[in-house]
Symmetry: C2
Subunit: 239 residues, 2 copies
Amino acid sequence: MGDREKKTVLFEQVARVGKALGSGKRLELLDLLAQGERSVEHLAAAAQLGVSTTSAHLQVLRQAGLVNARREGTWVHYGLAGLDVYRLFEQLRNVAGDRVADVGRAREDYLDSGRPAAIPPTQEVSRDELLTRVGAGDVTVLDVRPVEEYAAAHIPGAISIPVEELPRRIDELPSGQQVVAYCRGAYCVLAYEAVALLHAAGRDALRLHEGMLEWRVHELPVESGTTATATAIAADPAR
Amino acid sequence: MGDREKKTVLFEQVARVGKALGSGKRLELLDLLAQGERSVEHLAAAAQLGVSTTSAHLQVLRQAGLVNARREGTWVHYGLAGLDVYRLFEQLRNVAGDRVADVGRAREDYLDSGRPAAIPPTQEVSRDELLTRVGAGDVTVLDVRPVEEYAAAHIPGAISIPVEELPRRIDELPSGQQVVAYCRGAYCVLAYEAVALLHAAGRDALRLHEGMLEWRVHELPVESGTTATATAIAADPAR
DNA sequence: CCACTATTCTAGACTTCTTTGGAATACTGG
DNA sequence: CCAGTATTCCAAAGAAGTCTAGAATAGTGG
């Protein structure tokens, strides 16, 4: 095999990973998987795809080495193969956001919708700031993701109230303290909604910059499991 | 437009960049462009593609915001849109190399060929080490890339001798000093060949880890233009 | 060992990429 | 303004990816 052929083969192999990133649906699956392990069925529902199609996409991602599968009974749980995969994904989004004008617009379009009022980007707390304030104890950290995701990993000391339960459980939050809400990551709308709800209830609330995913990428401390305040999941017999 | 549609659009936009990375030929073009600006014709020849095909690929890369075009007379010079694009490319290769077993094998296959004897990877100098040794003046730095690439940017103080001229110009190198050869980047074979040639001539020679590209990504100092020792390009009237 | 479930495989229709050669365009120099 | 050159556009053929529905597989629980 000549030099040129070898070079071609080499690039073609790397392109396999590139190809895996070349479908909106697969990126959506990666985004979901970045939040934690998911079953094929769950992914199919969340991405609005047929189960077969989802499975096929997952095979592509797996052959590219971006995700791995773990069998548990009849379920197969997929997950990101590593943090470097998320960094690649993040870098892709950064480059896309910086260089393709439409991406920035689409992102704003998506995040700006579904909220009662626009929340200015200044009402954010950085990760470092949150960490020091948690240490000082002058802030309530609120995790508004679904309980399973909270159980898998959350910011130490955070309280779990999924955003759809927030309106009727708002009293569980200690009054008189500022609340910092967070959700999955930069492309997740849950914390935006939560802050809007808290403001509507007259609470002082901010949003954590980005979310859990980036928290993990920066290798900041996490806690897992349920807590006493998260009463909703205590009744779940599966755990 | 509903939330779901917006999300789909957003991911589809990002996927445009992913798609651009999903072809071996385009990755090859990116690799070439990472070395510096190139014309369509040059790229077509280097990647063994038709000019029309090359142009089409370049359009894809440009629409993804990965490269930009600069017109100069009838020539159009393409170049990487920014260092973040190279970082993305690099991250892609890293993930590919780590996760897809075949990539590591293909890479070794490619780099191990065309040299008289295998050069152990230990005969490398790190960037930091080279910088301090250049400061101390106890090393000759040799740039074996084509003269145009040397002229565009090179390590300060480096001498330019393209690898194909090295056998007959080896005497231009000061004797008694160790030579550190470098070329384009991690996937470039020129420096491997150069070190083999130098060893065959009884010289003490090492290879710089990776190459010029990574040197620039790490924002280390570069010099541009020609030098007195690079006599071959002094006659070029275009400069 | 059988019924059941989650997942993967298969085949076919459909769409989207890739490549090619030739025509059209953009620019230079006389 | 014309000849010449580099590049892009265009149309068509072939290759490859995407999706769907239904069959096959792997594992669980009785």
